[in-house]
Symmetry: C2
DNA sequence: ATCGATTGGGTAATCGATTACCCGAGTTTC
DNA sequence: GAAACTCGGGTAATCGATTACCCAATCGAT
């Protein structure tokens, strides 16, 4: 397999230079030659070899994307949005999952760099362990972080304003009458996990409500179920639970209801992300929506501006989230009802 | 950016040939040279250019995968399984979503072929419209279809035995006492959609139960909700609904219960896939599990054997599915209870 | 001592597309 | 009519890694 431009040139009776020019249109050729080349290419089914082109041009027309896992609907939503964004720019996406492991992540970055991607979009899985690999990559190609980021600067970032999002959620349940609140989130291994907890704590403290000790596990449904069980076992239910993402919230609602607790009458629950799980929940979940399309658009735009190893200070673009009130909380506060 | 092997050779004071040999170990060099080259490479941070290697070797070490959409958890599960399977073979996965459009699918195949992937794994989105692009691709590189396939042969396939799966589901609800059944599935645009419907009809007919007209829409939660609404509106509920996938089933359960129907007491519901949605449902969904890991392993194995444009007859490997009884059906029949 | 084999290093061809550079023919201009 | 340009075509260099091929040195055997 492999019709080359030499074959086309020979079939058309011209030099490879003319064939190349006729096909790319980057320099004039006589209509006669253009015609002969076009016909020869069509007959032979010529398809330019992107590998050779990449080597010669020193650009591959691909960008790499690394996310912790594509099982998590939040990340698949972002990936889809980025893909849509790239759609018509002639750039292809090379997608990798790090499986929440900094080692795998580093390996994936290595191979993407070896394949000479023109840029990278990454959501680093661990706020500390991901640092060396990400900074090293940022030194070599344009790189933008999305959603999660690493500490220490040096690489641009686009994401939601996590603290503001949690503030929205906390203020909402307080406006609904909650006097005691608890946070159900993930262990503090990612920036999102940390910022959401701190946003929660800050807002709750400012409002002066009672704050129970946070429940920290993973960003999964299973952990949500477990967290709900622990609340039930503790014998002391708060008026509201604010969760670090929708999967936790859905699991938690299920487990509370299973324990005979009414949601939202006894306990209000609010999630975070709003990427599909929320409407699947019963009752539909009140949550904070991440502006995924905007984040993707912004990330791609930013990537176009970034240069590898750029010494200018890293940019952080935090997009404002939006509260979506459904039925796991009382519809008191301002917000979009659906 | 770009330390080449020439730079390494110069720094080590040897020829590029020696440098290459020292680094690859494919021919002996003196320990002295090996040492100098290794040191130079490390100091310069040399990383071989995969593009150049691919051009020279005529193999890229990548395989392309095209699925209808990564929003559907069934496909992400397959993708993850294939990725795991490829993990240690040094092959990378180039993932594309066709967005359920044969045009997009054809374009994605074109660019994957232009990038000279070593093989393709595809789940063609449309049983008719996908034919030309898929067959053309199969003529040029090894290609294996997974889950969905196109009519007319010419390309290998690995998937679940859809008809057998539906037979399991139908027999299960009948054993549970159902005397009237209905199928909620998708329009017949894919092989899976067709085989699941025919498996349903054949088994129901053989058992002699009453069969209501099938509800055909899309493989989505929304369609499940709508299908449930139509059943409620029809004024005539069947004893059991067998669904073409779990998303439809989850939506349907929700909408039935919303209409005051008890599941499984009034109507039993069974899904298909078992990729996570099932346990999220309330009550947990009885379903037919697709052996995703096995399918992925088999697809990768098969891909290693297939040659491009191989004239031998296409293979079809149908793996047996398994019934998983949870709580949307009566636990009567044999099957795995969880 | 000589021949053949073995070992290990270097030179340059190769993969395929693009394009810098050169060249000849035809045009324009004074 | 000759110098200066323009136009369009061809030759070969280029991207970076690998390796076919060649060659010198060394060793063992006769």
């Amino acid at each position: 397999m492999g019709v080359t431009i030499h074959d086309v040139a020979r079939a058309a009776g011209v030099s490879v230079a003319s064939a190349s020019r006729a096909l790319s249109g980057r320099r004039k050729v006589t209509p006669e030659i253009a015609e002969r080349v076009a016909r020869a290419a069509a007959e032979l089914g010529y398809q330019p070899n992107a590998v050779a082109k990449a080597l010669r041009d020193q650009t591959t027309g691909t960008i790499g994307m690394v996310v912790p896992g594509i099982g998590n609907p939040f990340f698949t939503t972002i990936v889809e949005a980025v893909e849509r964004e790239l759609q018509n720019s002639g750039t292809d996406l090379l997608l990798c999952a790090s499986q929440y492991s900094p080692q795998v992540e580093a390996r994936r970055l290595e191979t993407l760099l070896a394949r000479r991607v023109d840029g990278l979009i990454i959501s680093p899985c661990d706020i500390e362990a991901s640092v060396p690999a990400v900074l090293d990559a940022a030194r070599r190609v344009p790189l933008v972080q999305v959603d999660r980021y690493i500490e220490g600067g040096g690489a641009d970032w686009v994401g939601v304003d996590d603290e503001a999002g949690l503030a929205l959620a906390v203020e909402h349940v307080i406006a609904g009458g909650a006097r005691s609140v608890v946070f159900a989130g993930s262990r503090l291994e990612s920036s999102s996990a940390r910022l959401r907890l701190s946003g929660f704590e800050r807002t709750a403290a400012r409002a002066g409500v009672e704050v129970l000790p946070p429940l920290l596990g993973e960003f999964t449904l299973e952990w949500g179920v477990e967290a709900g069980r622990r609340l039930l076992d503790s014998g002391r239910l708060p008026d509201a639970v604010v969760c670090a993402n929708d999967e936790i919230a859905v699991g938690l609602v299920r487990s509370l209801r299973f324990g005979g607790v009414r949601v939202p009458e006894d306990v209000a629950v609010v999630g975070f992300d709003d990427v599909g799980h929320a409407t699947m929940c019963d009752p539909p979940l009140s949550t904070v929506r991440q502006p995924v399309e905007e984040m993707a658009a912004e990330a791609v735009r930013l990537l176009g501006q970034v240069k590898a190893g750029d010494p200018r200070p890293a940019q952080r673009i935090a997009i404002a989230p939006r509260l979506v009130v459904r039925q796991t909380s009382r519809p008191v506060a301002a917000g979009v009802a659906e």
